[in-house]
């Protein structure tokens, strides 16, 4: 499935994932293209979160889990023994469902990733903080209150702060797990605009329950059910002329 001959950024091959005995991903094979937005849709519990969390190996921290198959980023196996998972997570950023600012100042939230990655130069940090906040369309709203606690921001602002925080460490891929499910429609519109914009520089994978959102922001859409990838195609195609009956039923709201 690569009609435009795009560069493949992420490739999952025959991916299986187990929580103990529960097989949450079944033989998933998918390609996410460079500088495109890939949306993952599907009913609750079908393994969307599980899937994107395998991409930055966040599932590694859950005890009793097991992964089979391969994930390649830029052609390199992310489970290869010489891969540093810490470095992988810097390259593959993640924004969570619920905004999770740290109880620090707005500035320190953004600077956090820089500091743990060893950046000491104050001027440079300030520069990156500003650039990241601009990148997340938050700069104008917070530039006069960088030292305020991040908890004082609204939910939508907090989510954009988390996006800025992810941008600051200059990842190549950004994973969004239902980034708008905890924020209001206006804030959602802002985040969607932002994602549109982000794909000029980053590869984006977004999990969403909102069909309109998937249709609006993504170039490619994957439909999953019960741990399996049912259909993967250009978003236009999925939403106008899906090949699989299950996909059609789902996007037309016949089950959910």
């Amino acid at each position: 499935m690569n009609p435009e001959n795009l560069q493949v950024k992420i490739k999952a091959e025959n991916l299986d994932f187990y929580y103990g005995a529960n097989r949450a991903l079944k033989n998933v094979t998918i390609e996410c293209f460079d500088k495109k937005v890939t949306a993952i849709i599907g009913p609750s519990g079908c393994g969307k979160s599980t899937f994107i969390r395998t991409l930055n190996r966040m599932n590694d921290v859950i005890p009793g889990t097991r992964l089979e198959g391969k994930i390649l980023i830029d052609g390199a196996d992310i489970h290869a023994p010489d891969v540093d998972v810490v470095d992988l997570r810097r390259r593959v950023g993640m924004v969570f469902q619920k905004p999770n600012p740290f109880p620090k100042s707005i500035f320190d939230n953004i600077a956090y990733g820089l500091r743990i990655n060893g950046m000491k130069n104050k001027r440079k940090i300030e520069e990156v903080v500003e650039r990241s906040l601009r990148g997340a369309a938050l700069w104008e709203e917070v530039k006069d209150r960088l030292n305020d606690n991040a908890f004082s921001l609204s939910g939508g602002q907090q989510q954009r702060l988390c996006i800025a925080r992810a941008l600051a460490v200059e990842p190549e891929v950004i994973l969004f797990d239902e980034p708008c499910s905890a924020i209001d429609p206006i804030a959602t519109a802002k985040v969607e605009d932002l994602i549109e914009h982000l794909k000029t520089r980053y590869t984006v994978v977004i999990v969403t329950h909102n069909m309109q959102q998937a249709a609006r922001v993504s170039d490619y859409t994957a439909f999953m059910m019960l741990g399996e990838l049912v259909e993967f195609d250009r978003t236009e195609k999925i939403f106008t002329n899906p090949a699989n009956k299950l996909t059609e039923d789902y996007i037309t709201g016949r089950f959910g």
Binding site: N56, M58, V61, P63, V86, D87, R89, R90, G93, M94, F96, K98, N100, F102, P103, Y112, G113, R115, I116, N117, F151, C162, R165, A166, V169
Partner: protein
Amino acid sequence: MRRSTRKKLVQAAGFLALRVAMGLVLAVLVLFLYDIGRKGGGAISWEFLSQAPRRGMTEGGIFPAIVGTFLVTVITALLAIPLGMCSAIYLNEYARQNRLTRLIRLSIRNLSGVPSIVYGLFGVILFVNALRLGTSILSAGLTLGLMTLPWTITASEEALKTIPDSYREGALALGATKWQAIRTNVLPYAVPGMLTGTVLGLARAAGETAPIMFTGAAFYLPYLPKSLSDQFMALPYHLYIMATQHHAIQQVRPLAYGTALVLIVLVLGLNMTAVVIRYRLRRKRR
């Protein structure tokens, strides 16, 4: 209509019962503090606080006991705080949550219920005899430290549990190592809570008699300890002697009450410190 008045009555009665219970507890506490304050207040003077006992402890002050309790509490803290925090960090952040860790946790909870006299005897066997530390500040402090450890571990673990996982995951997702995430995004928010529990444990230890009785506390010493391997006088033990073992109990009653007052003020002071730490933490979180 009827039913709702009945419900209201039941509620009013319930509230009343709760208030009475609360009032009773408070009354006992106030009465207790008042009694000690009244009977001990007269004994308190600068001389009482700054001088050693004289004439077979029928006169003079309790300065050596204050110093001894202070020193032994410092040793207790030095053992219980770092070891307790590290154990808690290991148990909560690193150890796999399986049968073994559950068993360890259960054992720790049980240890905090072991009577203090048992710790005292254990201290004699381990520190005084086996490790040849003799009856000393060190032995007594380490014994109290062991006794406090289950409390500090439990309190520290509870504090770590209050830190949301999203802080850990958020840091990891930015490329932090596990230790970096813990050090920079968990501990700063957990330490005040850890300290609160720990200080409460220390306050308890400072007031204990049984664990130090055989491990280092002395009946009477005319001089201050010069090193950690010396014996020492301690407030709770001094009080015990003044109240039950002295040859002229009636005569030294006021001194005993004075000692009790000082000990209570010290323990309450430590508890207040814990409250202040917790209050500060709450304000900062907001």
